[in-house]
Symmetry: C2
């Protein structure tokens, strides 16, 4: 945890917050705070800042918060992901938030098993703490927006223009000759929507549907990766390509 995230409702008008949960335990046992210590904080979907430990009472920590007045921008990438096995999805939530995605759009596909949708892993009470864990790791405050779609065709034809308006669209395809670093610079300054298919790949129909709706195929060389490894690798490459295309290789 490199940032303690707070809900806006937790902070008093005077800028104080009293915590008695895992965040307090983390400050006391891992960070080893004492009265007067400074910790990095953030408001969920809001500003970052720093806080002074105003008091400790057993396992309870009271912070006095100061925010920097600037909300970090939403990450410039969105992910359209064919729903993986629950075990894989569980592992992905925190990593996706840490890598930085604005939206996580989960969808059905021909090679997605129907029962993958009947899991608590897709319930907000389950995944929200994992997304927050990822944000606290990477010092971001912007919670990814999550939506789950049962029909790929409806999603692509009816919903995507609203969910990812104006984005450059790329789809992972092991056979594609171009890489994400080739395609993204052709759309400088635009958000990027990255589509990642199921373990067995998109069906021919699905690939054609995506291509017809503007998705350009990008490969990753000859190595076929597991969905979770591929998502992390592709998001890293997409961020890198986006930053290069924006002409700002390493912003602060």
């Amino acid at each position: 945890v490199n940032l303690i995230l707070l809900e806006r409702s937790e902070v008093s008008d005077g800028g104080e917050v009293t915590l008695a949960d895992q965040r307090a335990a983390h400050m006391l046992t891992v960070l080893g705070v004492t009265a007067g210590s400074e910790v990095r904080i953030g408001l969920l979907d809001g500003e970052r800042g720093s806080a002074t430990v105003a008091g400790i009472d057993g396992a309870t920590v009271t912070l006095r918060c100061a925010f920097d007045g600037r909300r970090p921008p939403r990450p410039p990438l969105d992910l359209l992901l064919a729903l993986p096995r629950p075990k894989v999805m569980r592992r992905l939530w925190a990593q996706l938030a840490a890598l930085g995605v604005g939206r996580i759009i989960l969808t059905n596909a021909e090679r997605v098993e129907r029962n993958y949708f009947d899991t608590h892993v897709l319930s907000e009470p389950f995944y929200r703490p994992l997304l927050i864990e990822g944000l606290q790791q990477c010092r971001d405050t912007r919670l990814p927006l999550v939506s789950v779609h049962r029909r790929l065709k409806v999603l692509v034809e009816d919903d995507l223009d609203r969910l990812a308006a104006g984005s450059a669209r790329v789809m992972a395809d092991p056979a594609a000759p171009e890489s994400i670093g080739d395609v993204v610079p052709r759309h400088p300054g635009r958000r990027v929507l990255l589509a990642v298919g199921p373990e067995g790949g998109w069906s021919r129909f699905e690939a054609a549907l995506l291509a017809r709706h503007g998705f350009e195929a990008v490969g990753m060389g000859p190595r076929t990766l597991r969905t979770d490894t591929a998502c992390v690798a592709l998001l890293a490459l997409a961020h890198d390509a986006w930053l290069r295309a924006a002409g700002d290789p390493r912003p602060a």
Copy 2:
């Protein structure tokens, strides 16, 4: 599993192999092979090829193998990794093999807890099947070489020139202004040795030691990632940079 890997000793002089383990179960239940089916195979650290199912007897599958006569090249990257928590290391083995590394050099560091070394996760009988799982996923045959080092200073001063002779050396450093895509192209054609520190980072002494031995610092933008996410992201970026520097963006 996209490739069934065989030990050289399992294949008869006549090119036949009889399997009754997980590989047989995978062929029968996931691939749904019958007599005459073709499957992709590989020899551990050797050639790839294809096999014909010559016979099925209950849970036992006999394959007739034909190899292509070419051993795939060792991946051009090596990883020097400060030993992470056993839980994280367990998750990493298969992913590292799938992403492609020639060597996995695990080391102690100031911020590595000593008891991380006392785990079965570092024993060859534990990690070898996981490395093979990763190779079978990505269709490679080259098993990463693994070594574990208790003293970073000895490793860097005495062993590294032998373990990674002639490699370009880069170290992940969140604060570095350059990216791996900036540094690797300055060393075209050379193998790349990527050093990734512990969760808390290298100590100042360790970072200086690495810098003195030729490691150039590379950043990944402002987001701090968990060790396993960072390894996957950095290896993906390093492969991409290496391929670009080699002037061959997407080899077959």
